[in-house]
Protein backbone atom coordinates (compact mmCIF):
# COMPACT_ATOMS: atom_id res chain seq x y z
CA UNK A 1 0.00 0.00 0.00
CA UNK A 2 2.77 2.39 0.88
CA UNK A 3 4.69 1.67 -2.34
CA UNK A 4 1.53 2.33 -4.30
CA UNK A 5 1.26 5.57 -2.36
CA UNK A 6 4.82 6.49 -3.29
CA UNK A 7 4.31 5.60 -6.91
CA UNK A 8 1.35 7.89 -7.14
CA UNK A 9 3.41 10.73 -5.82
CA UNK A 10 6.16 10.40 -8.40
CA UNK A 11 5.87 12.22 -11.69
CA UNK A 12 3.93 10.47 -14.39
CA UNK A 13 4.29 6.90 -13.13
CA UNK A 14 7.75 5.80 -14.22
CA UNK A 15 8.72 3.56 -11.36
CA UNK A 16 9.38 5.11 -7.99
CA UNK A 17 11.15 8.43 -8.08
CA UNK A 18 12.34 9.34 -4.72
CA UNK A 19 9.19 10.85 -3.43
CA UNK A 20 9.65 14.56 -3.40
CA UNK A 21 7.26 15.97 -0.88
CA UNK A 22 9.45 18.95 -1.52
CA UNK A 23 6.89 20.08 -4.07
CA UNK A 24 4.48 20.60 -1.21
CA UNK A 25 6.74 23.28 0.16
CA UNK A 26 6.11 25.19 -3.07
CA UNK A 27 2.51 24.24 -3.67
CA UNK A 28 1.05 24.64 -0.18
CA UNK A 29 2.14 28.23 0.46
CA UNK A 30 0.93 29.07 -3.04
CA UNK A 31 -2.47 27.57 -2.35
CA UNK A 32 -2.73 29.27 1.02
CA UNK A 33 -2.15 32.62 -0.66
CA UNK A 34 -4.79 31.76 -3.22
CA UNK A 35 -7.11 30.65 -0.44
CA UNK A 36 -7.19 34.17 0.94
CA UNK A 37 -8.47 35.38 -2.41
CA UNK A 38 -10.92 32.50 -2.75
CA UNK A 39 -12.45 33.34 0.62
CA UNK A 40 -12.39 37.07 -0.01
CA UNK A 41 -14.29 36.67 -3.26
CA UNK A 42 -16.71 34.21 -1.66
CA UNK A 43 -17.46 36.50 1.27
CA UNK A 44 -17.93 39.65 -0.79
CA UNK A 45 -19.85 37.63 -3.34
CA UNK A 46 -22.32 36.29 -0.82
CA UNK A 47 -22.76 39.67 0.87
CA UNK A 48 -23.49 41.53 -2.35
CA UNK A 49 -25.42 38.54 -3.58
CA UNK A 50 -27.56 38.75 -0.46
CA UNK A 51 -28.23 42.43 -1.06
CA UNK A 52 -29.13 41.85 -4.70
CA UNK A 53 -31.14 38.76 -3.77
CA UNK A 54 -33.06 40.51 -1.01
CA UNK A 55 -34.09 43.36 -3.27
CA UNK A 56 -35.02 40.94 -6.04
CA UNK A 57 -36.87 38.59 -3.68
CA UNK A 58 -38.79 41.52 -2.33
CA UNK A 59 -39.79 42.93 -5.70
CA UNK A 60 -40.79 39.47 -6.88
CA UNK A 61 -43.72 39.62 -4.53
CA UNK A 62 -44.57 43.22 -5.20
CA UNK A 63 -47.82 44.09 -6.88
CA UNK A 64 -46.13 46.26 -9.51
CA UNK A 65 -46.02 44.13 -12.64
CA UNK A 66 -43.05 45.96 -14.12
CA UNK A 67 -40.88 45.25 -11.08
CA UNK A 68 -41.89 41.63 -11.04
CA UNK A 69 -40.97 41.43 -14.72
CA UNK A 70 -37.51 42.89 -14.25
CA UNK A 71 -36.81 40.53 -11.37
CA UNK A 72 -38.08 37.62 -13.41
CA UNK A 73 -35.86 38.41 -16.38
CA UNK A 74 -32.77 38.71 -14.20
CA UNK A 75 -33.40 35.34 -12.59
CA UNK A 76 -34.19 33.77 -15.95
CA UNK A 77 -30.87 34.94 -17.41
CA UNK A 78 -28.81 33.73 -14.47
CA UNK A 79 -30.54 30.37 -14.29
CA UNK A 80 -30.42 29.95 -18.03
CA UNK A 81 -26.65 30.37 -18.49
CA UNK A 82 -23.77 28.40 -17.02
CA UNK A 83 -21.68 30.24 -14.46
CA UNK A 84 -18.59 29.84 -16.58
CA UNK A 85 -20.28 31.60 -19.47
CA UNK A 86 -21.46 34.35 -17.12
CA UNK A 87 -17.84 34.77 -16.02
CA UNK A 88 -16.51 35.00 -19.57
CA UNK A 89 -19.24 37.41 -20.60
CA UNK A 90 -18.74 39.65 -17.59
CA UNK A 91 -14.99 39.61 -18.13
CA UNK A 92 -14.91 40.33 -21.85
CA UNK A 93 -18.11 42.11 -22.68
CA UNK A 94 -19.31 44.16 -19.75
CA UNK A 95 -16.22 46.35 -19.28
CA UNK A 96 -16.43 47.22 -22.97
CA UNK A 97 -20.15 47.97 -22.75
CA UNK A 98 -19.75 50.16 -19.72
CA UNK A 99 -16.44 51.59 -20.83
CA UNK A 100 -14.81 51.06 -17.45
CA UNK A 101 -11.73 49.20 -16.32
CA UNK A 102 -12.29 46.38 -13.91
CA UNK A 103 -9.64 44.24 -12.29
CA UNK A 104 -10.04 40.49 -12.64
CA UNK A 105 -10.86 40.16 -8.96
CA UNK A 106 -13.55 42.83 -9.20
CA UNK A 107 -15.07 41.01 -12.14
CA UNK A 108 -14.90 37.80 -10.13
CA UNK A 109 -16.80 39.31 -7.22
CA UNK A 110 -19.34 40.81 -9.61
CA UNK A 111 -19.94 37.48 -11.31
CA UNK A 112 -20.39 35.65 -8.03
CA UNK A 113 -22.68 38.37 -6.65
CA UNK A 114 -24.94 38.41 -9.69
CA UNK A 115 -25.05 34.65 -9.83
CA UNK A 116 -25.76 33.94 -6.18
CA UNK A 117 -28.16 36.89 -6.06
CA UNK A 118 -30.56 35.10 -8.36
CA UNK A 119 -30.64 32.00 -6.21
CA UNK A 120 -30.83 34.00 -3.01
CA UNK A 121 -33.82 35.86 -4.44
CA UNK A 122 -35.74 32.61 -4.46
CA UNK A 123 -34.61 31.88 -0.92
CA UNK A 124 -35.73 35.34 0.20
CA UNK A 125 -39.04 35.14 -1.61
CA UNK A 126 -39.78 31.75 -0.10
CA UNK A 127 -38.85 32.93 3.38
CA UNK A 128 -41.00 36.06 3.13
CA UNK A 129 -43.95 34.02 1.94
CA UNK A 130 -43.54 31.51 4.72
CA UNK A 131 -44.43 34.17 7.26
CA UNK A 132 -48.08 34.04 8.29
CA UNK A 133 -49.95 37.00 6.77
CA UNK A 134 -51.45 37.55 10.22
CA UNK A 135 -48.08 38.85 11.36
CA UNK A 136 -48.16 41.64 8.82
CA UNK A 137 -51.79 42.41 9.71
CA UNK A 138 -50.94 42.56 13.39
CA UNK A 139 -48.11 44.98 12.74
CA UNK A 140 -50.18 47.22 10.51
CA UNK A 141 -53.18 47.19 12.82
CA UNK A 142 -50.97 48.51 15.62
CA UNK A 143 -50.26 51.58 13.52
CA UNK A 144 -46.83 50.57 12.24
CA UNK A 145 -45.92 51.80 8.77
CA UNK A 146 -45.48 49.12 6.10
CA UNK A 147 -41.73 49.70 6.30
CA UNK A 148 -41.66 49.28 10.06
CA UNK A 149 -43.79 46.17 9.77
CA UNK A 150 -41.42 44.71 7.21
CA UNK A 151 -38.34 45.57 9.19
CA UNK A 152 -39.40 44.68 12.72
CA UNK A 153 -42.05 42.03 12.25
CA UNK A 154 -41.46 40.20 8.98
CA UNK A 155 -37.72 40.31 8.44
CA UNK A 156 -36.42 38.87 11.73
CA UNK A 157 -38.30 35.55 11.53
CA UNK A 158 -37.89 35.43 7.74
CA UNK A 159 -34.14 35.84 8.07
CA UNK A 160 -33.99 33.08 10.64
CA UNK A 161 -35.85 30.80 8.30
CA UNK A 162 -33.43 31.69 5.52
CA UNK A 163 -30.23 30.98 7.41
CA UNK A 164 -29.79 27.29 6.60
CA UNK A 165 -30.41 27.91 2.91
CA UNK A 166 -28.04 30.90 2.99
CA UNK A 167 -25.31 28.82 4.59
CA UNK A 168 -25.80 26.30 1.86
CA UNK A 169 -25.53 29.00 -0.76
CA UNK A 170 -22.27 30.17 0.77
CA UNK A 171 -20.82 26.70 0.40
CA UNK A 172 -21.92 26.68 -3.22
CA UNK A 173 -20.32 30.08 -3.72
CA UNK A 174 -16.98 28.90 -2.35
CA UNK A 175 -16.98 26.11 -4.90
CA UNK A 176 -18.11 28.45 -7.66
CA UNK A 177 -14.99 30.56 -7.18
CA UNK A 178 -13.07 27.73 -8.82
CA UNK A 179 -14.73 28.58 -12.14
CA UNK A 180 -13.28 32.07 -11.96
CA UNK A 181 -9.96 30.50 -12.92
CA UNK A 182 -11.14 30.86 -16.49
CA UNK A 183 -10.92 34.63 -16.24
CA UNK A 184 -7.48 34.61 -14.67
CA UNK A 185 -8.50 35.20 -11.09
CA UNK A 186 -5.69 33.86 -8.93
CA UNK A 187 -7.82 31.73 -6.69
CA UNK A 188 -6.61 28.31 -5.69
CA UNK A 189 -7.82 26.33 -8.72
CA UNK A 190 -6.09 28.71 -11.12
CA UNK A 191 -2.89 28.64 -9.08
CA UNK A 192 -3.05 24.87 -8.97
CA UNK A 193 -3.45 24.63 -12.73
CA UNK A 194 -0.54 26.96 -13.35
CA UNK A 195 1.65 24.98 -11.02
CA UNK A 196 0.68 21.71 -12.65
CA UNK A 197 1.37 23.12 -16.11
CA UNK A 198 4.89 24.19 -15.21
CA UNK A 199 5.88 21.27 -13.02
CA UNK A 200 3.96 18.52 -14.80
CA UNK A 201 2.93 17.24 -11.39
CA UNK A 202 -0.70 16.91 -12.36
CA UNK A 203 -1.57 14.03 -10.03
CA UNK A 204 0.00 15.56 -6.95
CA UNK A 205 -1.35 19.02 -7.63
CA UNK A 206 -4.94 18.04 -8.27
CA UNK A 207 -5.02 15.65 -5.33
CA UNK A 208 -3.83 18.39 -3.00
CA UNK A 209 -6.24 20.86 -4.58
CA UNK A 210 -9.21 18.54 -4.11
CA UNK A 211 -8.25 17.87 -0.49
CA UNK A 212 -7.91 21.59 0.07
CA UNK A 213 -11.47 22.24 -1.04
CA UNK A 214 -12.71 19.24 0.89
CA UNK A 215 -11.11 20.54 4.06
CA UNK A 216 -12.51 24.05 3.68
CA UNK A 217 -16.00 22.91 2.79
CA UNK A 218 -16.03 20.39 5.63
CA UNK A 219 -15.30 23.18 8.07
CA UNK A 220 -18.12 25.22 6.55
CA UNK A 221 -20.49 22.29 6.84
CA UNK A 222 -19.68 21.96 10.53
CA UNK A 223 -20.32 25.68 11.00
CA UNK A 224 -23.62 25.33 9.17
CA UNK A 225 -24.71 22.53 11.47
CA UNK A 226 -23.89 24.75 14.45
CA UNK A 227 -26.02 27.53 13.04
CA UNK A 228 -28.93 25.17 12.51
CA UNK A 229 -28.61 23.84 16.04
CA UNK A 230 -28.67 27.33 17.50
CA UNK A 231 -31.77 28.19 15.55
CA UNK A 232 -33.79 25.27 16.82
CA UNK A 233 -32.57 25.58 20.40
CA UNK A 234 -34.21 28.95 20.83
CA UNK A 235 -37.60 29.63 19.41
CA UNK A 236 -39.41 27.02 17.40
CA UNK A 237 -39.65 27.49 13.63
CA UNK A 238 -41.25 30.84 12.92
CA UNK A 239 -44.36 30.19 10.94
CA UNK A 240 -46.94 31.02 13.60
Amino acid sequence: MFSVFLQAWSSEGEGINFMSIAFLSVLLPMLLTGLKLTLKIAVFGIIFGFLIGSVTGYILQSKLKILKFIGGVYIWIIRGTPLIVQALYTYFVIPKLLGIDMSNNTVGILVISLNSGAFIAEIVRGALQSIDPGQKEAGLSLGLTPAQTMFHVIVPPAFRNMLPALCNQFIIVVKDTALLSIINVNEITHLGQNYAALSFRTIETYTVLALFYLAIISVLIILQKNVEKRLTLGVKKCSM
Binding site: D132, G134, Q135, E137, A138, G139, L140, S141, L142, G143, L144, T145, Q148, H152, V153, P156, P157, R160, V235, K236, C238, M240
Partner: protein
Protein backbone atom coordinates in the same frame (compact mmCIF):
# COMPACT_ATOMS: atom_id res chain seq x y z
CA UNK B 1 -68.10 57.35 17.05
CA UNK B 2 -68.59 55.01 14.13
CA UNK B 3 -71.09 55.43 11.35
CA UNK B 4 -71.26 52.81 8.65
CA UNK B 5 -73.48 53.65 5.68
CA UNK B 6 -74.28 51.30 2.82
CA UNK B 7 -71.00 49.46 3.08
CA UNK B 8 -70.39 47.11 0.17
CA UNK B 9 -67.48 44.74 -0.32
CA UNK B 10 -66.95 42.32 -3.19
CA UNK B 11 -64.11 39.92 -3.90
CA UNK B 12 -64.04 39.33 -7.68
CA UNK B 13 -67.50 37.93 -8.38
CA UNK B 14 -68.51 37.36 -4.78
CA UNK B 15 -70.48 39.99 -2.84
CA UNK B 16 -69.42 39.49 0.73
CA UNK B 17 -70.99 42.64 2.16
CA UNK B 18 -74.15 43.80 0.48
CA UNK B 19 -75.43 46.86 2.31
CA UNK B 20 -74.21 47.30 5.84
CA UNK B 21 -75.52 50.13 7.97
CA UNK B 22 -74.49 50.50 11.59
CA UNK B 23 -74.08 53.22 14.13
CA UNK B 24 -71.85 52.80 17.17
CA UNK B 25 -71.70 55.31 20.00
CA UNK B 26 -68.72 55.98 22.20
CA UNK B 27 -68.44 53.48 25.01
CA UNK B 28 -70.80 51.03 23.36
CA UNK B 29 -70.08 47.31 23.26
CA UNK B 30 -71.56 45.80 20.10
CA UNK B 31 -71.44 42.04 19.54
CA UNK B 32 -71.79 40.77 16.00
CA UNK B 33 -73.10 37.23 15.67
CA UNK B 34 -74.03 35.09 12.70
CA UNK B 35 -73.14 31.98 10.71
CA UNK B 36 -69.69 31.63 9.15
CA UNK B 37 -69.42 33.21 5.74
CA UNK B 38 -71.85 35.93 6.68
CA UNK B 39 -69.17 38.59 6.27
CA UNK B 40 -68.66 39.46 9.96
CA UNK B 41 -64.87 39.42 9.84
CA UNK B 42 -64.77 41.22 6.52
CA UNK B 43 -66.96 43.95 8.00
CA UNK B 44 -64.58 44.39 10.90
CA UNK B 45 -61.53 44.44 8.64
CA UNK B 46 -63.10 47.14 6.48
CA UNK B 47 -63.25 49.42 9.48
CA UNK B 48 -59.50 49.44 10.06
CA UNK B 49 -58.85 49.17 6.31
CA UNK B 50 -57.24 45.75 6.35
CA UNK B 51 -59.80 45.30 3.60
CA UNK B 52 -60.66 48.05 1.13
CA UNK B 53 -64.41 48.63 0.85
CA UNK B 54 -65.91 48.43 -2.63
CA UNK B 55 -68.59 50.99 -1.88
CA UNK B 56 -70.32 52.95 0.84
CA UNK B 57 -68.80 55.02 3.64
CA UNK B 58 -67.42 54.40 7.08
CA UNK B 59 -67.26 57.51 9.24
CA UNK B 60 -64.94 57.39 12.21
CA UNK B 61 -65.45 60.46 14.36
CA UNK B 62 -66.97 62.12 11.32
CA UNK B 63 -64.08 61.38 8.93
CA UNK B 64 -64.57 58.99 6.03
CA UNK B 65 -62.31 55.99 6.46
CA UNK B 66 -62.88 54.92 2.86
CA UNK B 67 -61.63 58.15 1.30
CA UNK B 68 -58.18 58.23 -0.24
CA UNK B 69 -57.19 61.18 1.90
CA UNK B 70 -57.51 59.18 5.09
CA UNK B 71 -54.33 58.61 7.09
CA UNK B 72 -54.80 54.91 7.57
CA UNK B 73 -51.84 54.51 9.86
CA UNK B 74 -53.19 57.16 12.20
CA UNK B 75 -56.62 55.54 12.02
CA UNK B 76 -55.18 52.23 13.14
CA UNK B 77 -53.57 53.84 16.15
CA UNK B 78 -57.04 54.78 17.32
CA UNK B 79 -58.90 51.72 16.07
CA UNK B 80 -57.09 48.66 17.38
CA UNK B 81 -57.67 45.02 16.58
CA UNK B 82 -57.42 41.69 18.36
CA UNK B 83 -57.16 38.63 16.09
CA UNK B 84 -58.56 35.14 16.30
CA UNK B 85 -55.06 33.65 16.10
CA UNK B 86 -53.42 36.22 18.39
CA UNK B 87 -50.59 36.99 15.90
CA UNK B 88 -48.03 37.70 18.61
CA UNK B 89 -44.50 38.34 17.34
CA UNK B 90 -42.74 35.04 18.01
CA UNK B 91 -39.17 36.26 18.33
CA UNK B 92 -39.96 38.94 20.90
CA UNK B 93 -40.75 38.53 24.57
CA UNK B 94 -44.22 39.34 25.88
CA UNK B 95 -42.98 42.69 27.09
CA UNK B 96 -41.27 43.47 23.80
CA UNK B 97 -44.47 42.56 21.95
CA UNK B 98 -46.42 45.11 23.94
CA UNK B 99 -43.71 47.80 23.76
CA UNK B 100 -42.85 47.59 20.08
CA UNK B 101 -45.51 49.76 18.50
CA UNK B 102 -45.49 52.64 21.02
CA UNK B 103 -41.70 52.92 20.79
CA UNK B 104 -41.72 52.92 17.00
CA UNK B 105 -44.71 55.12 16.31
CA UNK B 106 -45.24 57.44 19.24
CA UNK B 107 -41.53 57.79 19.79
CA UNK B 108 -42.10 56.97 23.38
CA UNK B 109 -38.87 56.38 25.22
CA UNK B 110 -38.16 52.80 26.06
CA UNK B 111 -38.49 53.44 29.77
CA UNK B 112 -41.93 55.04 29.41
CA UNK B 113 -43.09 52.32 27.08
CA UNK B 114 -41.84 49.62 29.41
CA UNK B 115 -43.59 51.17 32.39
CA UNK B 116 -46.87 51.41 30.53
CA UNK B 117 -46.50 47.92 29.11
CA UNK B 118 -46.00 46.46 32.57
CA UNK B 119 -49.14 48.27 33.76
CA UNK B 120 -51.10 46.76 30.88
CA UNK B 121 -49.74 43.29 31.55
CA UNK B 122 -50.79 43.75 35.15
CA UNK B 123 -54.25 44.68 33.93
CA UNK B 124 -54.59 41.46 31.91
CA UNK B 125 -53.08 39.43 34.76
CA UNK B 126 -49.80 38.49 33.12
CA UNK B 127 -47.14 40.68 34.74
CA UNK B 128 -45.22 37.57 35.80
CA UNK B 129 -44.88 36.54 32.14
CA UNK B 130 -43.24 39.74 30.96
CA UNK B 131 -40.05 38.01 29.86
CA UNK B 132 -41.62 34.85 28.54
CA UNK B 133 -41.68 33.98 24.84
CA UNK B 134 -45.13 33.65 23.20
CA UNK B 135 -44.48 30.04 22.25
CA UNK B 136 -44.27 29.15 25.93
CA UNK B 137 -47.70 30.56 26.78
CA UNK B 138 -51.12 28.97 26.61
CA UNK B 139 -53.59 30.23 24.03
CA UNK B 140 -55.54 32.15 26.61
CA UNK B 141 -52.39 33.82 27.89
CA UNK B 142 -51.29 34.70 24.36
CA UNK B 143 -54.62 36.32 23.60
CA UNK B 144 -54.47 38.35 26.78
CA UNK B 145 -51.01 39.56 25.76
CA UNK B 146 -52.48 40.44 22.36
CA UNK B 147 -55.12 42.53 24.10
CA UNK B 148 -52.46 44.29 26.18
CA UNK B 149 -50.47 44.90 22.98
CA UNK B 150 -53.48 46.48 21.31
CA UNK B 151 -54.14 48.60 24.40
CA UNK B 152 -50.55 49.89 24.36
CA UNK B 153 -51.49 52.22 21.52
CA UNK B 154 -54.32 53.65 23.66
CA UNK B 155 -56.98 53.12 21.04
CA UNK B 156 -60.42 54.65 21.21
CA UNK B 157 -62.09 51.67 19.58
CA UNK B 158 -61.15 47.99 19.80
CA UNK B 159 -62.18 45.49 17.16
CA UNK B 160 -62.25 41.85 18.24
CA UNK B 161 -62.29 39.27 15.43
CA UNK B 162 -63.53 36.03 17.05
CA UNK B 163 -61.09 36.43 19.93
CA UNK B 164 -61.88 33.12 21.64
CA UNK B 165 -62.71 30.88 18.67
CA UNK B 166 -59.21 29.40 18.56
CA UNK B 167 -59.05 28.68 22.27
CA UNK B 168 -59.61 25.50 24.22
CA UNK B 169 -62.89 25.88 26.14
CA UNK B 170 -61.25 26.08 29.56
CA UNK B 171 -59.11 29.04 28.44
CA UNK B 172 -61.98 31.09 27.04
CA UNK B 173 -63.07 32.43 30.38
CA UNK B 174 -59.85 34.26 31.26
CA UNK B 175 -60.00 36.19 27.98
CA UNK B 176 -63.65 37.07 28.28
CA UNK B 177 -62.96 38.32 31.78
CA UNK B 178 -60.37 40.77 30.47
CA UNK B 179 -62.74 41.90 27.77
CA UNK B 180 -65.47 42.48 30.32
CA UNK B 181 -63.09 44.63 32.35
CA UNK B 182 -62.37 46.72 29.29
CA UNK B 183 -66.08 47.16 28.67
CA UNK B 184 -66.62 48.22 32.23
CA UNK B 185 -63.84 50.81 31.80
CA UNK B 186 -65.83 52.33 28.96
CA UNK B 187 -63.96 51.07 25.86
CA UNK B 188 -65.87 51.19 22.61
CA UNK B 189 -65.79 47.57 21.39
CA UNK B 190 -66.95 45.76 18.29
CA UNK B 191 -66.80 42.04 18.94
CA UNK B 192 -67.39 39.28 16.42
CA UNK B 193 -68.03 36.22 18.54
CA UNK B 194 -69.86 32.96 19.06
CA UNK B 195 -69.82 33.39 22.83
CA UNK B 196 -73.49 34.06 23.41
CA UNK B 197 -73.04 34.28 27.16
CA UNK B 198 -70.65 37.16 26.76
CA UNK B 199 -72.96 38.85 24.28
CA UNK B 200 -75.87 38.53 26.60
CA UNK B 201 -74.03 39.77 29.70
CA UNK B 202 -71.68 42.44 28.40
CA UNK B 203 -72.99 43.79 25.09
CA UNK B 204 -75.11 46.88 24.86
CA UNK B 205 -76.26 45.76 21.46
CA UNK B 206 -76.25 42.56 19.47
CA UNK B 207 -76.15 42.55 15.68
CA UNK B 208 -77.12 39.44 13.70
CA UNK B 209 -75.51 39.16 10.26
CA UNK B 210 -76.31 36.65 7.58
CA UNK B 211 -75.25 36.51 3.97
CA UNK B 212 -73.59 39.91 3.90
CA UNK B 213 -76.48 41.80 5.46
CA UNK B 214 -77.50 42.87 8.92
CA UNK B 215 -80.68 40.92 9.48
CA UNK B 216 -81.56 42.17 12.90
CA UNK B 217 -80.10 44.21 15.73
CA UNK B 218 -81.18 45.18 19.20
CA UNK B 219 -80.55 44.85 22.90
CA UNK B 220 -79.31 41.40 23.93
CA UNK B 221 -82.40 40.57 25.91
CA UNK B 222 -84.57 41.38 22.90
CA UNK B 223 -82.53 39.43 20.39
CA UNK B 224 -81.99 36.37 22.50
CA UNK B 225 -85.45 35.96 24.05
CA UNK B 226 -87.61 37.31 21.25
CA UNK B 227 -85.95 37.53 17.85
CA UNK B 228 -88.13 39.15 15.21
CA UNK B 229 -86.63 37.54 12.08
CA UNK B 230 -87.02 33.90 11.15
CA UNK B 231 -83.35 33.59 10.19
CA UNK B 232 -82.28 34.95 13.56
CA UNK B 233 -84.50 32.43 15.27
CA UNK B 234 -83.11 29.54 13.23
CA UNK B 235 -79.51 30.55 13.91
CA UNK B 236 -80.03 31.03 17.64
CA UNK B 237 -81.77 27.69 17.94
CA UNK B 238 -78.88 25.98 16.26
CA UNK B 239 -76.29 27.72 18.42
CA UNK B 240 -78.10 27.32 21.70
CA UNK B 241 -78.68 23.65 21.02
CA UNK B 242 -74.93 23.12 21.13
Amino acid sequence: MLDVKHLVKSFDELDVLKDINLHVDEGEVVCIIGPSGSGKSTFLRCINRLETPSGGTILYQGRDVTSSGMDIRQLREEVGMVFQHFNLFPLKTVLENVMLAPVLTKSRSKTEARKFALELLEKVGLSDKANAMPANLSGGQQQRVAIARALAMQPKVLLFDEPTSALDPELVGEVLEVMKKLADDGMTMLVVTHEMGFARDVAHRVVFMDNGMIVEEGRPQDIFTDPKEERTRVFLNRILEN
